[in-house]
Amino acid sequence: MRQVLKAMPALPLLIALLALMVYMSPFYRTVPGLMIFLQRAAPLVVLACGTSFVLIAGGFDLSLGSLITLVAIAGAMITQGDAALTAPAVAAVFAIGLVVGTVNGIVVAYVKVPSIITTLGTLLSVQGIAMAWSGGAPSSTLPENFRYLGRGRIHDVPVLGSLPVSVIVLVLVWAMTHWLLHRTNFGSMVFMLGDNPKAALLAGVPTRRVRVACFVISSLTAVIAGLLLGGYSGVSVDVGGDYALQAIAAAVIGGIVLLGGRGTIAGAASGALALYALFTVLNLFGVSEPVRLAVQGLILIAAAAFTARR
């Protein structure tokens, strides 16, 4: 039990929020209701898992939100609503993610620009590209098959009834990032890098390449989150804008230490679920947007303080 808590410090908070959520809304007492909760939380969970690599390696990735926007817009601009063009569009958005991640990584690792500045710059550039490409308003929609990941459902699943595809994506990304961070040599190098970069270098860790890889993983999860989010709700010029900070917040609530070296994927994922449960509970209380932001801020500070004290 103690070990579980150590890996997932957000677990008590998550359980409390889920209990409150279920208590308040009959809708969330049903299996489909919980599935919809998971479906809506999926982009944030995926993103928190990916950005954990950058955080644990001792950096920040602020460019994720605008990358999500670009993914949704690129999907619409490339396909122009034509289902036959979905495959090239998906390939293209993954290529975009790869490029953005590599650029972030190279600038941070080789040019030695602090990651918070680098990714802030990328955030603005990517946002600019998305705005210029769409002309400020998306002029087309995403075809149904492009939206499958975010909106599709598998019917007639035992126990669950119907299973949103997003939930499968969530579980897969969780499992893969968990394996990568906790079960591979690469994962241990990420921890070493975040703990003490000099020591890692002396120990023979290819620190620059590991750092680049962390940014690439982070960007690729942003692409997946973009596919989920765009799929769930369609194109919009500012879809995903808030997500970079929310993902970092989720990771902090989940026990990932901001200066690097400590944290788990299970922690980040449970932190993301707790944060999304918090949004849901605030909504169920009927809290208006400004108050919601304020409450959200207070709870974040509390969570960060709690994590720091441990």
Partner: protein
Amino acid sequence: MAQTGLIRALLRAGTLIALLLAMCGVTWAQVANVNVDKEFAEQMALMKAKPNGPADKPWEQWFDANLKDTSSYAKKGPYHLCFSNAGLGNAWRVTGWITMQAEVELDKDKIASFDHADGQSNDNKQISDIQSFINGGKCDALIVSPNTSAALTPVVEQACKHMPVVTFDRSVNTPCPVTAVRSIGGYAWGAAGAQFIVKNIPKGGKVLVLRTAPGIDVFETRWTAADKIFKDAGVDVVGNEFVGGDRAKTKAIVTDYITRIGQIDAVWVDLGTVSVAAAEAFQDMGMPYPVITGEDEQDYLQAWQKDGFKGFASTYPAYQWRTAVQATLKILEGKPVPAPEWILPQPVITKDNLAKFVNAKLSPLHFSMCGCEDMPGFPERWGGKK
């Protein structure tokens, strides 16, 4: 982290205050200039009135029979027309612009040239566009679709001294254009959907209102009218949210309302773009559809037909882009035109005439009240498939 959260919250608060200030300014201006009740009553009367002109060509129809003599503008053709466009910033304008170009081609024996300038949704750009048309001295007449009324007024007044001017969509604050083409108006638009809702939900039913942004004239008139209808009918407006025309935000907000309130009886929108996202929220939650109002965009019409919810589309007809060209030609030929305003009918789409407007071959963002079905190149030219 605490810091970034705080900064973000502060930024949000700042934006909110700025928005509130902007809102106050606009509301004041409206109160000073417009008699809401009178305009509302006029528009409601027009929705019931019978327009003049051919019934099968609503873009040639008009209300009020005052025709203005334009013989003083008569000229020998073919004509050089100039068009200053506010911009192509949304799908409605794209549909309209294609329709307008098709209309110019239909009249090619009368039109020697058709120059157009794209204002890129920027007042300054459009002002300089119009100035170069005036200075170029080539235009026989000028068509203007103003980006904003007040900013464009002086330059349009200047243009009026050199050639006949026709405005459409938005107008300018001067009577100098020969005529201003428009449809009935925002009050009628908003009221029509609200009346449909009142008729189709139980008394005291729950309505969710989705609006675009505060302080924009066209949206304020739509909501003012709907609000009046809802209040008179004792409808329970459970939420009134600004979604900025954003489908993603719309779906999230509607989903939030469903989890909080449960079944909602109707969703009223002030912009058809978000209707499909609202419908999706109910579909994905496995809830029965409520009444969902919308506009004449294909994706909404198709979803309405396919999913079978109770729909209703108010329209802001894109066929006025055709009318503007036809009006200009009439003026140059010295034929009388309705003036100072050419008020076009503003049809609604109900389940009875829905089939006429649904066309799966068209692109999802095509506006069906374009009056373009019989034009050459339909539907491919409008982004549709053969």
